[in-house]
């Protein structure tokens, strides 16, 4: 039988950039970050610290999370300044 996958790029090389965006790292999340916008000061520390660029910022304001890529590590919740602690991690249902 002819192998349909022989057209794959040689040697497992991915011949284009930015392909990590297409991979849903949110699939294995156990804890989901929840932001309380009443407490949030938009300091954007969570946006800086998130290892998966999963904090969404619009017009200089933190507006929520990209749950396709947020893996639930909780770094944002820890890094959110003690004075506000605007992010809590909740079990995925």
């Amino acid at each position: 039988m002819e192998d349909k996958k022989t057209e794959l790029p040689l040697g497992g090389i991915i011949p284009e950039g930015g392909t990590a965006h297409d991979y849903s790292t949110g699939g294995w999340r156990k804890l989901r970050p929840i932001v309380d916008k009443d407490r949030c000061t938009n300091c954007l520390i969570c946006w800086v610290m998130c290892p998966d660029s999963a904090v969404i910022v619009e017009d200089g304001k933190m507006v929520g999370f990209d749950l396709e890529h947020c893996k639930g590590c909780g770094i944002c919740a820890v890094e959110c300044p003690d004075k506000v602690k605007a992010i809590t991690m909740e079990e995925e249902g």
Binding site: D3, K5, T6, L8, L10, G11, G12, I13, I14, P15, E16, G17, G18, T19
Partner: protein
Amino acid sequence: MAITMTKGQTGLTGNAAIAVAMKQINPDVCAAYPITPSTTVIEDFSSYVADGKVTTELITVESEHSAMSACIGASAAGARVMTATSAQGLALMWEMLYIASGMRLPIILTNVNRALSAPINIHCDHSDSMGARDSGWIQIYSETVQEGYDNLIQAVRIAEDERVLLPAMVCLDGFITSHAIENIALLEDEDVKKFVGEYRAQNSLLDTDKPSTYGAMTLPDVYINFKHQQSQAIARAKEVVIEVGKEFGKKFGRTYALFDAYRLEDAEAAIVILNSAAGTTKVAVDELRKQGKLVGALRPRLFRPFPFKEIADALSHVKAIAVLDRADSMSGFGGPVFNEVRSALYDADKRPKVMSRIYGLGGRDYKVKDALGVFNELQKVLETGKVETLQKYITI
């Protein structure tokens, strides 16, 4: 460098000749770590780098694992890359050998064959390259200094051919070939340059306009498909080896094939043997031919991929064959070359009797009398139609 100069000939050791070939190829990057008996390849080559005779970036590293890793990085960046090693050095590269071939990087390595420890030994056998035979590298074996030099130049074309794109290893016998001086014919720098041409990698990590990822994870949905591609590519290497060997012959007068058959056409008994020991075997063949005995020899040049059909065709009329291995695969069932040859002959209409003889490990001499002894055993097989001992050590 050259010790003697006769007309059109230069007296060089095997390692010096390999270094001259590397100088003429002028690779972009060479990453290496010294190990006996391959050390003088890189020693000579580093003089060429220091003297500005090449434009190669020479990377001196802290181990062979790092040497092959640096070769892989440079090759992924689109460079033409070469290195050299022996024995434990090749063993330390093991993990990276598979990565080089899996990523389809046409790196060229000279392996100066040396025994693997333990016990520690610096002399010739083929346990190093035979251990790497399933790593996905093309393996070309060389009988003489001249052939080692010629093979290295051809290896560049074979590895980089777009039908292949796989790393290639050129093997020559430690000390016997690497340190013995032979009068050889060198090619002109310009001819080598033209023959190998310019290398244009399909992808380059340094090409930021066309970003690519090397070494990505693949799961059960595609891993086997990449291996399938690789398997088909190494099978295709056979026709490329033939083409390049012919073209080399047309241009420079020395033609190379998949193997070298010596007085085999009407032979009833034959020895199959790799590298320098083939020369000794041919002397024994000539002696016996003088006595009217129908004997011959076959020296495989390409071992990976293994040209099983061609070798079987060349041997199928022979009645008794001894395959001599300078390595033991410790299976209790013959050496690595023996197993390939015997398996290749399975489909022959009249299967020859085949036996395995292990010789010369750790640099033990293989003399004409040893070859004559094997032919003597083959004579008995011809008379009785039986192989009494399938695997046996000789030269002990």
